[in-house]
């Protein structure tokens, strides 16, 4: 939990949940597990505010709680989960590419609300889809349910841990906090619901009237409704599965870049076959025989078996070692080396960063060091074919930025400097960690700059929003063209220009944040793969 991570977490929480939640979340991330009163004391906020914030954070799976032996409850916030907020757009987009609009909306609702029951999610999504359809058409609940089931089957959404069943009359007082249990078997089992209905279109009144009517209606509904049949079964987005999908995508596109389209399709098929059988942090997939792969190739691809075998041999012999041969039965058993692939991707990212930051000659030295592991100053100059002075300069620049490190090898036991070898080397793991830290800092800087830009132009933004609101209401009541133009002219031309600039800047910053997040994903996956699980 570095300073950069904490700062980024606090900015993300503030943008999405407001300042109160941000203060409490940041405090929990910084100090670890704490009970309620200590949090209130340390942050100086009122108990009610702390309770409110904790409810929100728990709902969104950002904070977990545990009942301690002494009888009080401690709350904890894992930093890594809060950082995932940055990746929400990518999850939603992936759901869209795989399951089209319905999948996209389901995942979006689940991410926005933290956890939901299936019936609530289906209803909301159907309503939203109905809004976008033409007049008179509504979205049927059945279709949305089908997409929901498909998402659960491919593990993209999963059930939250269940609260224990409470008996009707219990003599002992209920525990201060329920212990939620994870049921592995049922994690993806969809409850047997019979959701019949259609999406509702909200009426086209003013917003206020609508809100009032709905509120009144809801009150009457709530009084007469029984709890829905799947009460207590909550679903959340399965972030690990999405990460697995991104990782597979990265590997496939790497193979496509390095070799050709067909080999990337073969690798994609192999990965698809091992989706459910291999756990997400296994070092390599289960061995797949060449016959199985041949049978599972997508139907559009009609390559002959021999060609497939040749491709597989090529892939296995490639120095990048994405694919490995683990046996000869069944026409050859092949595995995909996941950890090696992640390491290669991270290394490629490092190389590209060195190239963009220091120039191509530095990149040459960097790649040389990666290949030869340890080299002396003189050897670097010789192998890289760069004059001594420049090579020295470049090495020191990279050394000062911690991309390259020095390894001492003493000749004598007293480590005398004149009798010690100093070798330059690249430690990919520590460089990756250093870069990851830098990425977090970059994103934090980007968010701060964006907030600054928005704050500077706050007055102008509010004015333009008011003008738009007036325009919209006047158009709804059927005003004349002249009047509309008058209103539009309330924003002068230079102000319009300023607004354009602001919009362009904010868009650029947002796009940069998304792009840095892709690098963060690659580096994080690599670092995670090297951590040995106990």
């Amino acid at each position: 939990m570095t300073q950069a991570e904490i700062k980024l977490c606090s900015l993300l929480l503030q943008e999405h949940f407001g300042e109160i939640v941000e203060k409490i979340g940041t405090h929990l991330i910084k100090t670890g597990s704490q009970p309620l009163r200590v949090i209130a004391n340390d942050t100086g906020m009122s108990l009610d505010q702390v309770k409110k914030a904790l409810c929100v954070l728990i709902q969104h799976n950002l904070v977990t709680y545990q009942l301690q032996k002494r009888g009080f409850v401690e709350y904890e916030a894992p930093c890594s989960r809060v950082l995932r907020i940055l990746r929400y757009p990518r999850y939603i987009y992936t759901a869209k590419t795989l399951y089209s609009d319905m999948g996209e909306l389901i995942v979006e609702e689940l991410l926005l609300n933290g956890k939901m029951t299936m019936s609530a999610a289906v209803r909301k999504v159907a309503d939203r889809l109905t809004e976008t359809m033409e007049d008179g058409k509504t979205m049927d609940y059945g279709e949305v349910s089908n997409t929901f089931v498909r998402l659960a089957d491919t593990h993209f959404i999963q059930r939250c841990p269940m609260a224990p069943e409470t008996t009707e009359t219990s003599d002992a007082p209920p525990p201060p906090a329920p212990t939620l249990a994870v049921n592995e078997k049922d994690m993806y089992v969809v409850p047997n619901l019979n959701l019949i209905g259609k999406g509702k279109r909200s009426r086209s009144f003013d917003d206020e009237d609508n809100g009032e009517h709905k509120a009144k209606r809801q009150k009457q509904d709530a009084d007469s409704k029984e709890p829905p049949p799947d009460d207590g079964i909550y679903w959340q987005a399965n972030i690990d599965r999405f990460h697995q999908h991104f990782r597979d995508q990265a590997i496939v596109s790497a193979v496509a870049n390095r070799m050709d389209q067909t080999s990337s399709e073969i690798v994609r098929t192999m990965l698809r076959m091992s989706e459910i059988t291999t756990s997400s942090n296994a070092p390599y997939t289960q061995p797949l025989s060449s016959n199985e792969i041949f049978r599972s190739l997508p139907t559009g691809y009609n390559i002959v078996k021999q060609i497939l075998d040749q491709y597989l041999t090529l892939l296995a012999d490639d120095p990048l070692e994405f694919v490995g041969k683990s046996g000869d039965s069944g026409g050859g058993m092949y595995v995909i080396n996941l950890h090696k692939a992640l390491a290669t991707l991270a290394t490629a990212t490092l190389e590209s960063i060195v190239q963009e930051r220091f120039g191509s000659r530095c990149a040459r030295i960097f790649r040389l060091l990666l290949r030869k592991k340890h080299l002396e100053q003189k050897q670097v100059e010789d192998f890289a074919m760069i004059p001594a002075k420049e090579a020295k300069d470049m090495l020191y620049k990279m050394l000062s930025e911690n991309f390259v490190s020095l390894q001492e090898i003493p000749k004598t036991p007293d480590h005398a400097p004149s009798r010690t070898f100093y070798l330059y080397t690249v430690n990919t793991l520590s460089s990756a960690r250093m870069l990851l830290h830098r990425c977090y800092k970059s994103v934090a800087n980007l968010i701060e700059r964006r907030q600054y830009e928005t704050k500077e132009n706050k007055r102008l933004l509010e004015k333009s929003q008011r003008v738009e609101a007036i325009l919209a209401s006047m158009q709804a009541t059927g005003a004349e063209e002249v009047q509309l133009q008058e209103i539009e002219e309330m924003i002068t031309a230079p102000e319009r220009q300023q607004l354009e600039n602001l919009k362009r800047n904010v868009n650029k910053i947002d796009a940069s944040e998304n792009q840095v997040d892709e690098t963060i994903f690659v580096l994080e996956s690599y670092i995670e793969s090297t951590v040995k699980k106990l």
């Binding site: 943008e15 949940f17 009122s46 009610d48 757009p89 009237d209 963009e356 100053q377």
Partner: protein, 217 residues
């Protein structure tokens, strides 16, 4: 000790043979840094332009929409609005934030620790005739004042309990409030004015602030 005497005479001595690392005799070292690195260091190589394409545009739009949507959800906890300078008549009829920091949405209380529930104090108006006098005595005085100030027309169905108060008060107030639920509904229908029609006149003067020549009466 021997090293320190060499100060000022050429380069400073180091504990190891600097030639091993490549600093030859007579080479000038770059000047030592005496201040922290600048806040915006100049870049030698300009960064590569951002990715473009349909995918990128779509994710950008998603990101901005997500931000906007979250601000309107009940999960976005707004800090309490600062108290206005003067108590205004409109405060009585305008919808302000949730009462007493209670939450706007309904979490599943079975999944949360009990200590996180917040007590919602039911709004009490001047209904001395309806209330039995002994109820009034039980309420401490400061609560009464706070309640009068925070009047809203939102319906609060949830009666959540908290372990802060004494348990006796809890049970009794709980019973009272269930009875009062009907009263509040009636009371709402009492006002003849539809809330959306109420305009407190704040937007009125906004556009005409340009010409300060005319006096405002």
């Amino acid at each position: 000790m021997a090293g320190r005497g060499g100060r000022g005479r050429g380069r400073s001595q180091m504990t190891f043979n600097v030639e091993a690392v490549g600093i030859g005799k007579g080479d000038s070292l770059p000047p030592s840094t005496l201040q922290p690195s600048p806040l915006f260091p100049p870049m030698e190589y300009k960064p590569v332009p951002l990715q473009t394409g349909e995918e990128v545009e779509y994710m950008l739009a998603l990101k901005q929409e997500l931000r906007g949507a979250m601000k309107n959800l009940p999960y976005y906890v707004k800090p309490a609005a600062p108290k206005k300078d003067v108590e205004r008549y409109s405060d009585k009829y305008q919808m302000s934030g949730p009462i007493d920091n209670a939450i706007d949405w309904n979490p599943d209380w079975r999944r949360l620790p009990r200590e996180l529930k917040i007590r919602v104090r039911k709004v009490r108006k001047e209904r001395t005739t309806i209330l039995i006098p002994k109820h009034k005595q039980r309420l401490p005085v400061d609560k009464e004042e706070a309640i009068k100030k925070l009047e809203t027309l939102e319906k609060k169905e949830e009666e959540v309990t908290s372990e802060e108060e004494g348990e006796k008060e809890e049970e009794e107030e709980g019973k009272e409030e269930e009875e009062e639920e009907y009263d509040e509904e009636e009371h709402e229908e009492e006002t003849d004015y539809i809330m959306s029609y109420f305009d407190n006149g704040e937007e009125f003067g906004a556009d005409s602030d340009d010409n300060m020549d005319e006096a405002i009466y």
